[in-house]
């Protein structure tokens, strides 16, 4: 298993460099000018100097090489310096956002907590409600509970989050006034009062995203349980005199979880990708919103770095899913 993991990690390096190259070239070929947002009163020669200052005068391979160097060498040095008080970086140039002129990673670090709180929490909530619904729906297939679960899943999966989000805002924020419609990032949780305020402002975006996630995962769970409930080993377990709780929650569930765990693991990178639309609807200034603003402003370093981080997470969680597969299914061995 260890050898397999190391082999996969080594193989991931060329994959990631290739991904970075593709993203870079796509941004390179895309129309748009980082100077377009500058006031029109700036004379063309000054504008040209600003372009040069941003490094845009250099050929693409120099810029790509420098970005790789900054991403893989300079930025980690800054992290180490920040963590241990060393001075490896020695003032080297970091990846700088075109828009704010501050280091990209500092901006990302500011945005991550909101995304993790809202999107991450919605994923956890979604998984927690999806699994029992899927299990019960399969065990009592075609019962009223299953029909209801199937209906809600269908709605949750097919109605877009920008619709459910706005609907919730209209009902619960505008008409009833129970929850705020805008996520307040400056809120600091320091006592019970502010904790409740935090819960209130999280409630609607978490609900919207959890509904969507739960709809998807509960379908997988149900299908996987149904596959396994008809297997011969289930009959064997019953023939051994095991009660239904053990038959279903031990024998069947353990087998059914194998594909579902993979689906759950593969879904985690999307959490970091942020729910771009939901973050917009509820004004959560998370990573998704950051990406949208960066794209609008042709902030190439920001878009490149964010997109690349998502790619790293996707590659990483693919590996994690494969390893989990080996952990949960004894038939799979990677040696």
């Amino acid at each position: 298993m260890l050898a397999y993991t190391i082999r996969r990690l080594v193989l991931a390096i060329p994959t990631l460099i290739f991904i970075a190259f593709v993203i870079f070239m796509l941004l390179e070929l895309a129309p748009g000018d980082p100077m377009a947002n500058m006031p029109l009163s700036i004379p063309p020669e000054v504008r040209e100097q600003m372009r040069q200052a941003l490094g845009l005068g250099q050929p693409w391979y120099i810029r790509f090489g420098l970005w790789l160097y900054q991403f893989f060498v300079v930025e980690p040095q800054y992290w180490i310096d920040a963590a241990f008080g060393t001075n490896f970086a020695d003032g080297a140039q970091r990846i700088i956002s075109f828009q704010s002129r501050s280091p990209v990673f500092e901006i990302i670090a500011e945005r991550v907590p909101q995304t993790l709180w809202v999107v991450g929490m919605s994923y956890i909530v979604g998984v927690i409600i999806a699994l029992p619904i899927g299990i019960a729906g399969a065990y009592w297939q075609y019962s009223w509970f299953d029909q209801l679960g199937t209906f809600i899943s269908m709605v949750g999966f097919s109605v877009p989050t920008f619709f459910t989000g706005v609907l919730l805002i209209v009902i619960f924020a505008v008409n009833l006034g129970w929850f705020p419609s805008i996520y307040n990032t400056t809120l600091v949780v320091e006592d019970w009062e502010s904790f409740l305020a935090q819960l209130r402002q999280m409630a609607m975006p978490v609900f919207v995203l959890a509904l969507y996630n739960a709809a998807q995962i509960s379908r997988y769970m149900r299908a996987s349980m149904l596959d396994n409930l008809g297997q011969d080993y289930v009959r064997t377990a019953r023939a051994k005199g095991m009660n239904e709780r053990i038959v279903v929650l031990k024998h069947v569930l353990r087998n059914s979880m194998i594909p579902v765990i993979t689906v759950i693991a593969l879904g985690v990178p999307q959490v970091f990708g942020g729910a771009i639309i939901t973050e917009q609807v509820f004004k959560v200034n998370g990573l998704g919103q950051l990406l949208i603003i960066a794209i609008q402003g042709s902030d190439i370093p920001m878009v490149l770095t964010l997109t690349f981080i998502f790619a790293v997470l996707i590659v990483a969680f693919n590996l994690i899913a494969d390893i989990l597969y080996g952990v949960f299914d004894p038939r799979i061995r990677y040696d």
């Binding site: 297997q231 064997t236 377990a237 019953r238 051994k240 005199g241 095991m242 353990r254 004894p330 038939r331």
Partner: protein, 339 residues
């Protein structure tokens, strides 16, 4: 079976119906049989004749819905298994009645170790500690002839061959010293040499442990070698029943006769085509009101389309559900000379 001793299992007019969208399928119809202590009862019949469904009905292994078992009685010891509740039935399943299924490749749970799967009924029915259950599991694996048993407890089913897995299944079924072992085509999925090994093992275990066995198969060769008595099933009914030698020497039901003819003969002409029974077994959407073999029977006459033959007793603890065996009708039957 010693004369006069009460049977371990006494099944009386058992019926099972599946309520499906296509209609009610009467899979088991008025089945009666007994099983004596230490006896091996062979149950034969082609696919769809109701052999497995009958046996699964006995201990409530059929999913309900769609299956509805009853009316009828299944007397096991002093209880009627169709009357006791699910909890009491679970005590019987795996505890007093063991079950071995057809396909050892799928009958074991792939994600649990073999040791855990054998220990599970031991801990459940006999209340053994983890340690005691593991020791007993080793004993059982040795009993069914798996070498290096203690080390193999931690292995998963996929690390065993088909024959070895069936041995594990037998070990599970025998774990709690059952009074009755129901083996549902236990050798069908195995190749011939492994089949022979499993048959030998079962013979040996039966002598050693003295339990009664119900052996379901469609292989008459297997039955001839191991059974004490044989019950032939067709259309969810028992059509003939006799001690094994009597049945092979003197088959009375046309279906049994046809079945025996289909067994390939090693001594005959080489080029001869294999004998088959023409047609399909019936799907019974209503309880049978006439002989269910009539459409495939070479001897069928008018009465067979009109009335359901009872199991007529014959000499030598033998009976057959065919009008050819009805002592009252025999002289008038135009076909009796051929039978």
């Amino acid at each position: 079976m010693p004369k006069g001793a009460p049977p371990v299992l006494d099944v009386r007019s058992l019926s099972t119906v599946f309520h499906t969208r296509a209609g009610n399928v009467h899979a088991v119809n008025d089945v009666n049989f007994t099983l004596g202590a230490g006896e091996l009862l062979g149950v034969v019949g082609e696919s769809g004749s109701g052999k497995s469904v009958t046996m699964m009905s006995l201990i409530g292994l059929l999913p309900s819905p769609p299956a509805v078992v009853g009316p009828g009685e299944v007397i096991f010891g002093d209880r009627d298994l169709l009357k006791i509740d699910e909890k009491a039935l679970r005590e019987v399943r795996g505890g007093e009645i063991g079950f071995v299924f057809q396909d050892p490749m799928t009958s074991l749970n792939p994600v649990f170790t073999v040791g855990m799967q054998i220990a599970e009924p031991l801990r459940r029915h006999m209340g053994l500690s983890k340690k005691a259950a593991a020791d007993r599991a080793v004993e059982l694996l040795e009993l069914v002839g798996i070498p290096d048993a203690r080390r193999r407890l931690g292995d998963y089913p996929h690390q065993f061959s088909g024959g070895m897995r069936q041995r594990v299944m037998i070990a599970i079924a025998l774990a709690c010293d059952p009074k009755v072992l129901i083996a549902d085509e236990p050798t069908t999925a195995l190749d011939v040499t492994i089949q022979a090994q499993i048959l030998e093992l079962m013979q040996e275990l039966r002598e050693k442990l003295g339990m009664a066995v119900i052996w379901i198969t469609h292989d008459l060769g297997v039955i001839a070698g191991i059974a004490d008595r044989v019950m032939v099933m067709y259309g969810g009914q028992v059509v003939e029943h006799a001690p094994v030698h009597e049945l092979f020497a003197n088959p009375r039901h046309p279906y049994t006769q046809a079945l025996l003819k289909t067994v390939p003969n090693v001594h005959g002409e080489r080029a001869k085509r294999l004998t088959t029974i023409e047609g399909q077994p019936p799907i019974l959407l209503a309880p049978p009101s006439a002989c269910s073999f009539r459409d495939r029977c070479p001897h069928a006459w008018e009465l067979c389309h009109r009335a359901l033959p009872a199991r007529f007793p014959l000499p030598g603890d033998h009976d057959a559900a065919c009008f050819l065996c009805d002592p009252g009708l025999a002289p008038t039957s135009p076909e009796i000379q051929d039978a």
